[in-house]
Amino acid sequence: MLLITCPFCGPRNESEFVYGGPVKPPRPDPATRDDAEWTEWLTHVPNPVGPVEEQWWHARGCGTWLTIWRDTRSHDIVGAPHDGG
């Protein structure tokens, strides 16, 4: 039972949230991508061993969609890795 910090409500039990999957790169403008690039964006979902940015919906709470960085090895909620680090 993770303890997830909602920006509005503060720390709440995981059971109040709905998992929304890992964060993908922003949805590209389809006009600027060929089929291969679009398929790559559509089907490539981050699945690292280690910290992953993922989104959760505070369904049984304030309704906020939020993101956390969760270490898939430990379930620890960690800070965002530094760019390039």
Binding site: F8, C9, R12, N13, S15, E16, R60, G61, C62, G63
Partner: protein, 165 residues
Amino acid sequence: MSHDVTITPLETQALFDLRGPATVLRDWAGDSLPAFPQRPNTGSSNGRATLMFLGPDHWILRADLAREDAFEAALRPVAAPPEISIVRISDTLAFFRIIGPEAGEILSIACPLDLHPRCFGHDAASFTAAFGIKALVIRCEGGFELAVDRSYLPMMTECLTAAAG
């Protein structure tokens, strides 16, 4: 009941779902609303109604059902500017009042939320889960109020009765 608690279902409450920036809502509603609470998951009352701050740009106004039409007239949902949304939702939630020395015990069976007075003060109100269902929990004099989607009213009645032992 082995717990020292009284559980009472409440009649339908007048409820309005208010969304959008507080400033625009305040300008639109004028003095018909209580003061906008500043801290998340708290409420403020003015004797006629309570305004609860339950999400980002999201408030629920609560009053007796007898005031529903008056608030509808004052808030003019259909005419409200596009930046804000005012929707009557009085029938969506069924309320229970749980009062007594062991009201907190019943809530601890129902809700994962920490309801210690240090965390959930006299003006606290928040959505959380009760028996796995989305629920609004409000601290009140002598205990708590709990509201769930109306379709769960029979289920919540059974659960609370069972919890009270």
